[in-house]
Amino acid sequence: MTRIAGALRSPVAFSVLAGVVIGALFLVGTGADPFAAYGAVLSGSLGADGIGSTLSTTTSVLGLALALAIPLRAGLINLGGDGQMVLGGMAAAVTGLYVPLPAPLAVVLALLAGMAAGAGYAALAALCENRFGVPLLVSSLLLSYPASSLASYLARYPLKEPGSSLPQTRQLPDGVALPAFGSSTVTAGLLLVVLAAAAYWFTDKRTAIGYEIRMTGLNSRFAAYAGVERKGLTLRLMATSGALAGLVGAIGVLSFPYRFLDGALTAPGYTWTGLTAALLAGAAPLGTVLASFFFAMLQVGGLSMERTTEVPRELTQVLQAIVIVFLAARLSLPRRWFRRSRQQREAV
C-alpha cells in the first residue's frame, strides 16, 4: 500500500495522471465518452494495425528526445531540433542523390552526412553562446528558422524534382534506403536510435564524462570548481545533440517516401514531442525511452481516436502539454497536503 501511495506521489506519475484526468474532462466537455476515446488510443496504437506505425513514430520521437535529453542532463536546452533535423535530412538526400557509390555505402554515407550537418549546425548555436554570450535556448531556436527556410528553398528550386507539383527532391536511387522489417514501415532506423539510447545509458551510468554531465546539470558552479570546462562541454554536448537530430532527419529521408519533401520532417512536431518526453523523464536514459514510446503511442492512437470517436487528434497534444505543465510546476501538491495535514495533526 505504501509503495502504491509513494508511486502516486511521485511528480511524474502525478503529472501523467493529472493529464489523463484533465483530458477526460475535455472529452466529457465535447460530449465524447472518455473511456471509448482512451480505449481507441490504446487499441489504435498497440493493436496489430497500429503497432508498426507507433514504432516508426517512436524512431523519430526517441531520436529527438535523446537529442534534447543529452544536453538537458547538463542543464542546457537545445530548442533548434527542427533546423538540425531538416539540415540532416537535406544533407542525406543530397548525398544519396549525387554521390555515385554502391547503394549500401551510399546509405552509410548519407547517414553520416546527416549527422555531420546536424552536428555542425548545433555546434554553431553552442559557439553563439560560448563566444557571443547569446543564451543557447535563444540562439538554437532562432537558428532553426533560417535552416528550415534554406532547406525549403532547396527543395522548391534548385533540387526540385522536375515536373512534380510537390516541393520535393527526386526519389533516391534504387536500394538507397534503410532496410525495413518485413512489409512494415519500421526500418533499421529504429535500431540505430535504440543503439544511441543504449550508448547514452552507458555513458550516463558508467563513464566519467557522464558523471561530469550530470554534475554540471545538478550544480554548474560546483562542477566548474571541480574542473569541468563548461564551454568545451557545451560544444561537445550540442554537437552530439545535433548529430542525433540530423540522424533522425537522415532516417526520415532514407525511409518512405525516400526523398526530401518540404515540411514532411517538421510537420508532425517531433522536436516538441521529443522535448516533452525528455522533460518528463528528467533526461534520464531509460525514462526517455519509455516517455518517447508513451508519446508516440499518444500521437498514433490520437489518429485512431479521431477516426472512431470523432474527437480531434489535437487532444493528445493538449494531454502532452498538460503533463509537462504539471511536472514543471513540480506539482507535488499531494505531498504538501499530506505534510500540512500531518503538521496540523501533530500540533493538536
Partner: protein
C-alpha cells in the same frame, strides 16, 4: 527608393504585436520572472479574439476577451513559477506547446475546421490614421511602462522585487504580489498582441499563426535590456526586417529568404549588442 515612408509605415505596422508582447516580457523580467511563454499567451489571444469577434460580431469585444483569456492563461506561469517555485523555462515551453494544442483542438471543436478559420463576415479591427487602434495602445504602453518603472513607487518596488526579493520583503513589499501582477500584465499585453495579429494584421485564425513572434519578443526583451524604450527599438528592428523582407520579395527574392530575414537580423543584433557589452565589461589591460 528602397527606404521610404511606405517601408517605415509597414515596419511600424509589423512591430505592433512584437512590441506589445515584448513589453509584457520586459515587465516580467524586471519583476524577476523569466517569461518565455509569450508565444503561447499571444496564440491564446489570437484564437479568443477571433472566436469572440465571430460570435458577437464586435472586434472590440474580441480584443477585450483576448486580453482576459491570455491573462487567465498567464496564471499558469504565475502559480507555477511564483507560488510553487517551478522552473519558469520549462513552464514557458509547456505553455507554448499547450497553446498550440489547445487552439488547434478548439478550432476543430468550435469551428469544425482544420488549419485556418477565415470568413468574410468575420469583423476585424478598423484602421485609424493608417494604423490599428492597438498600435496606438502599444505606443502609449511604452510611455506608461517607462514612466512607471522609472518614476512611480509601484515600478520602483517591482524592480526592487526583481533585483533583491529578500530585501523587498523585509521592507514590507510582498514579492509574490508584484510578480503575480507583472505576469498578469504580460498576459493582458500578449492578449492584445494576439488580437492585433489575428484581427489587425489579418482577419483570420490559423494554427500556430504566431510563428515564432513570441520568441522574437523574448529576444527583444534581451536586446532592449528590459527597458521599455530599448524594447521599442528592438521591436522596430524586427519590424524593419519584416517590412524589408516583403519589399525584397516584391523585387523577386524567394519567399524563403525573406521568411528567414527577421530571425537572422534579430540574431545578428543580439551578437552585436552582447559582444559590445562584453568588451566593455572586460577588465582593462586584458589581452583580447
Amino acid at each position: 527608393m528602397f527606404f521610404d515612408s511606405d517601408l517605415l509605415m509597414s515596419a511600424l505596422r509589423a512591430l505592433t504585436p512584437i512590441l506589445l508582447a515584448a513589453l509584457g516580457g520586459a515587465i516580467c523580467e524586471r519583476a524577476g520572472v523569466f517569461n518565455i511563454g509569450l508565444e503561447g499567451m499571444m496564440l491564446m489571444g489570437c484564437f479568443t479574439s477571433v472566436a469572440t469577434s465571430w460570435f458577437t460580431g464586435s472586434p472590440w469585444l474580441g480584443v477585450l476577451a483576448a486580453a482576459l483569456a491570455a491573462a487567465a492563461y498567464s496564471l499558469i506561469l504565475a502559480v507555477g513559477a511564483v507560488t510553487l517555485r517551478g522552473d519558469a523555462v520549462v513552464l514557458g515551453v509547456a505553455m507554448n506547446l499547450l497553446a498550440v494544442g489547445l487552439t488547434s483542438f478548439l478550432l476543430r471543436t468550435v469551428f469544425g475546421v482544420q488549419g485556418t478559420f477565415d470568413d468574410p463576415s468575420l469583423a476585424g479591427l478598423p484602421l485609424v490614421g493608417g494604423f490599428s487602434p492597438l498600435a496606438y495602445v502599444a505606443w502609449a504602453a511604452v510611455g506608461v511602462a517607462a514612466l512607471m518603472l522609472s518614476r512611480h513607487v509601484w515600478g520602483l518596488r517591482l524592480r526592487g522585487v526583481g533585483e533583491a526579493p529578500e530585501a523587498a520583503a523585509t521592507l514590507g513589499v510582498s514579492p509574490a504580489k508584484y510578480q503575480y501582477a507583472a505576469v498578469l500584465v504580460s498576459g493582458v499585453l500578449c492578449g492584445l498582441a494576439g488580437a492585433q495579429l489575428a484581427l489587425g494584421n489579418v482577419t483570420l485564425f490559423s494554427e500556430n499563426m504566431t510563428a515564432g513572434r513570441g520568441w522574437i519578443a523574448v529576444v527583444a526583451v534581451m536586446l532592449g535590456r528590459a527597458l521599455p524604450l530599448g524594447v521599442l527599438l528592438a521591436a522596430l528592428l524586427f519590424g524593419l526586417a519584416e517590412a524589408a523582407g516583403f519589399r525584397l520579395q516584391g523585387l523577386g527574392l524567394p519567399q524563403q529568404a525573406t521568411d528567414a530575414a527577421p530571425y537572422v537580423v534579430t540574431l545578428g543584433a543580439l551578437f552585436l549588442t552582447t559582444a559590445r557589452r562584453r568588451r566593455r565589461t572586460r577588465p582593462a589591460g586584458a589581452a583580447s
